[in-house]
Amino acid sequence: MPDPGDAQRPAAALGRLRLAATRAWEGLWERLSLSTKLIGALVVAFAVVFLLVHWISNSFEDSHYDLLSQRTLSKAAEVVVESIRWDAAGRPVAVELPPDLRWLPAALQDDLDFRIEDRDGRVLIRSPGQAHGDAASTVSRTEQDGTLFRSVTVAVGTPDTPYTLHLSLTDRLLHLLRTQVISWPTALITTVLGLVAVTLIVLLAVRRLLRPLHDASDAAATISSENLHRRLSTEGVPVEIRPLITAFNQALGRLEHGFRIQQEFLASAAHELKTPLALIRGQIELEHDFASRDLLLKDIDLMARQVHQLLHLAELSEIQNYRFEQVDLCAVALDVVGYMERKAVRSRTSLELLLPDLPVYAMADASAVFILLRNLIENAIDHSPAGGEVTVSIANEALQVIDRGPGIAPADMPRLFTRFWRGSARTYEGAGLGLSICQEIVLAHRWSINVRDASPGACFTITLG
């Protein structure tokens, strides 16, 4: 039994082919530059116009052959009429054709003739050729010896002294005259030259037109999170492109506004949350003795720390808040270790700092790196047993913080950098945000952070670059 799908297969294949072709064409069209598209459109336009003109003129000639012949004939008659010389009595005495045409009647005797007759049919002037045509009608066709003639008769002179001009031309001469008007090679050369000229003009025009856009995109490329206040200039930008630049500037404005709002929000949130904490803390401190005084103070400090970390996390998640410069990571590490020394002493942990002989420079935000190392060291101290040692090492490729604590359970590894996550042991009090903040800082610097179990202890490594 034949598969009913068989019949549909060729159709489906054709459809797929058409789809593929359409896609290929669209892909090509998208890749083309504006200039190429414009020139392409112009080439097509020229070709269409060229063909159209020829088609129209050819078909017009065919259908209006008589009309065209009559026109040419009338035009020739006009020339002859204007060349008639008259005597004082108003009689025609001669036909003096313009110098460039004077040779014509004699040379084309067989194909051209004219005569001027008076009222009675007497011929006063005649061309060198033999008389042809029918004198009776204004425009006529006659055939003599197999040659087709077209004639025209026009009245000349005044009503008192009327004369008639008879002019005859052979059909073959008329045809020759007409076909000489437009020749194929001339038309083709004109078209090609025209196209070349138009292409050059379009190229130059497009380049000139797009220059402001080019300048604007160059300027836009220099705008980063650090100079959001800058705007693109609309000076010299064409009217058509100006709305685009204006819209871009407005978008920048909104971005800057949003950034400022966020900063203001962080500042006021910090103030609103921390001032009451300061108040509560102060009040408890000044009360002399009550049972849970120390516990309350500890809770307040923990809460303050949590608020502080939350704000830092919010701040450090936004790349605009970073200020990158060349920073000596050794100097930062020294400051952090100095800063953490007291906490280490209180936890009976020793802090060891290993530095290379030469400074380690990196494009970094010194304040952020300070927080990064402080959080890692704090974390290491919190997880160290009494008498343990925390090693901080700075090298050209990596920063490391190693502790001798219980290490990290494999199950906990994936959740280590999750916000608000705290280790299952919960032996220390933290906000659970320290490592999330570290991760944000590392990401902003395009560094990487990883942790491995150093059994005993954990080793955090930040790989630079």
């Binding site: 910090a270 103030h271 904490l277 020294l334 952090v336 270790v337 100095g338 802090l351 300070f370 927080i371």
Partner: protein
């Protein structure tokens, strides 16, 4: 009795701070906004200024800048709730002598204020020299060649200890003790702030002496190797 100016928009908090200061015989005049504080400073001389940053009529730093522009060098402790990433460095760039983050321990605030208003004259009258640095405790300044810069009392104490150590390392805790007099009251932030300011000031007067952190345990003054 020393008199300080306290600018803090939370009245209850400023009452508490005033009460804590009064216990150590420091009287505080409390104001809730920049303008009234500015007027008060025009009428009375204060030993120190305690300034909150977020005030109803602007950033407290604005008041500090106005004072410094008017060549008023009154020691200033800035209270900040912000605690933003760059505040550790930035908080010191505006002419504040010390800064403290909210919420703070009253004890620490008192220690810091006491350090600020301690008279330089109380320091032994000696004028130590190290490298191109010349400390003049009577005037509260350090000089290098023709340039000199005023030091806050805590900075003066720290620099004095370091110069007396003559290039040897001085432990952080020792520096904290000499500057604030208590071993446990101040947070690491206090020394951090003072060291940062001192480094900037030494650079500012073109000294070749640099303040070096020694293995995270302390500091020493060294003549910079490049120029030696």
């Amino acid at each position: 009795m020393a008199r300080v100016l306290l600018v803090e928009d939370n009245v209850r908090l400023s009452d508490l701070v005033a009460k804590a200061l009064l216990r150590v015989a420091i009287e505080a005049d409390c104001f809730t906004d920049i303008e009234s504080a500015w007027e008060a400073i025009g009428q009375q001389e204060y030993a120190a200024l305690i300034l909150d940053r977020t005030l109803p009529d602007g950033d407290g730093i604005g008041l500090l800048r106005r004072l410094r522009d008017g060549r008023n060098a009154v020691p200033c402790l800035v209270l900040t709730a912000r605690g933003a990433v760059h505040d550790r460095v930035e908080g010191l760039e505006h002419g504040a002598d010390d800064y403290l983050s909210k919420p703070f321990a009253m004890e620490e605030l008192v220690a810091r204020v006491k350090a600020l208003i301690r008279r330089p004259a109380a320091i032994r009258s000696m004028e130590p020299v190290l490298g191109d640095l010349h400390l003049r405790p009577e005037e509260g300044l350090v000089a290098c060649g023709g340039a000199s810069v005023a030091l806050a009392p805590a900075e003066l104490q720290i620099l004095l200890s370091l110069m007396q150590a003559n290039g040897r390392m001085v432990q952080r805790r020792r520096l904290e003790q000499t500057a604030w007099g208590l071993s446990e009251a101040v947070t690491p932030n206090a020394l951090d702030v003072a060291i940062h300011r001192l480094r900037k000031k030494l650079l500012g007067i073109g000294s070749r002496v640099v303040l070096v952190n020694m293995r995270g345990q302390g500091y020493s003054l060294l003549e910079s190797a490049g120029d030696a």
